[in-house]
């Protein structure tokens, strides 16, 4: 204990009482030190572990190209990412020499998310219902169900194509949208000159 009772002395005698010397230690510097160290630790620690987004890409075999061709045009959505946060999408592919209609959009929740949400409406609805019952089932069950719901054959297939001058944030944003909108089938594909041409056509560079 820092504080101790000092025995009273010399009360009875006629001598003048000696000055009472407290044995109490001043703890203020100690507190200062304590808080200094706390501050140091608070500033140097990373309390929040960063989150990660898991992605797996197909191995570099020729499987990929076959896969692409198999995607039904009616289900395919191609997202094009251009420079300066420009974003476009189109449905299907070129048919009989007619270019698909390219629509310009943006990264906001009213832009690309709305479109994807509506395109994947059935899945989103099912997932929302599943989430209501989440508490009733185990973690594993929930995850399995979720994967099952997401990989419905009728769900749209997204092709993500980024131009070289798009930035990393754009890519993460789009991958994020896939998560938000419960889209399980998407692929990051190299952009083709054809797509670049489509972008150029709708938004000619000045």
């Amino acid at each position: 204990m820092a504080e101790m009772q000092v025995a009273d002395k010399g009360k009875k005698g006629g001598k003048p009482a000696p000055k009472k010397l407290s044995t109490r230690v001043d703890l203020t510097p100690m507190v200062d030190l304590g808080f200094l160290l706390i501050t140091f630790f608070m500033l140097t620690t990373s309390m929040l572990k960063p989150q990660t987004m898991e992605i797996s890409v197909p191995s570099k075999d020729k499987v990929l190209e076959d896969e692409q061709n198999k995607v039904k045009a009616s289900q395919a959505i191609t997202i094009l990412m251009g420079k300066e946060d420009k974003l476009y999408y189109y449905f299907g592919t070129q048919e009989n020499g007619v270019d698909p209609e390219v629509i310009k959009t943006n990264y906001s929740s009213e832009g690309i998310r709305k479109m994807l949400f509506q395109k994947n409406f059935d899945v989103n609805k099912a997932v929302a219902e599943l989430k209501k019952d989440q508490k009733k089932m185990s973690e594993v069950d929930y995850k399995n169900k979720l994967t099952e719901l997401r990989s419905v054959k009728t769900a749209p297939v997204i092709m993500i194509k980024a131009a070289d001058d798009a930035n990393y944030k754009n890519l993460v944003d789009i991958l994020d949208e896939m998560n938000i909108n419960n889209i399980a089938r998407y692929a990051i594909v190299d952009i083709t000159p054809y797509d670049l041409g489509l972008m150029e056509k709708i938004d000619p560079a000045k």
Partner: protein
């Protein structure tokens, strides 16, 4: 009439309690803390809704800054030591890296120096290593893809290794694509993208 003696009270506040609290908090922070690993460059990571936490062990971090410089970090000193040792051998560095150089390298949590400049880099003072000029980045271009080697060796050292890519928001996609293609080349098909948490409302 006897005077009523008012006991003299000290005006000093008892600091014991305060001190207790301070040290309690201190202990808490010391125990819960994991230090921020020093990174050669500052990157602003993008945010996402992903909620998967990054594992603590067996993680290799690929750091990409906005100029497209690539850095590579392993999480244990032992692994890092072995990495440099093997890198030196595979690159035919003569004479081989000394024990001192290896130890020096193992102290750096994340490094990005072309292997031919590694010796000069390790000879620098620790303060000088932090400077902008020292942060060269690992060459990733197709003619001199040292990053591929780094990754291959790291995988050999620790087969359980998981890969995390930490890139700046403004990194051009071209650079990211380059790194991803390299990873694909050596059959690294699963990796994590490090992001910070963002709240999103879904209608």
């Amino acid at each position: 009439m006897p005077k009523v003696k008012v006991p003299r009270k000290s005006t000093t506040v008892d600091m014991t309690a305060m001190c207790d609290v301070a040290f309690l908090l201190l202990t808490f922070f010391m125990l819960t803390s994991n230090f921020v690993a020093k990174e050669p460059i500052v990157v602003a990571i993008p945010s996402s809704v992903a909620e998967i936490k990054i594992p603590e062990r067996d993680i290799a971090t690929v750091l990409i800054d906005k100029d497209g410089k690539v850095f590579f970090g392993l999480d244990t000193q032992q692994d890092r030591k072995e990495l440099l040792n093997n890198l030196g051998k595979s690159w035919g560095i003569e004479p081989a890296f000394t024990e001192k150089e290896l130890t020096e390298f193992s102290k750096i949590s994340m490094s990005g120096v072309p292997i031919e400049k590694m010796r000069a880099f390790l000879a620098m003072k620790p303060e000088a290593r932090d400077s902008k000029d020292a942060a060269l980045g690992i060459p990733t271009d197709s003619l001199n893809n040292q990053f591929k080697n780094w990754m291959k060796i790291a995988r050999k050292i620790n087969p359980k290794l998981r890969l995390a890519i930490k890139a700046d928001q403004q990194t051009p996609y071209k650079v990211v694509k380059g790194v991803m293609t390299t990873l694909q080349d050596i059959n690294e098909n699963r990796y994590n993208l490090i992001t910070s948490l963002k709240q999103v409302s879904t209608k």
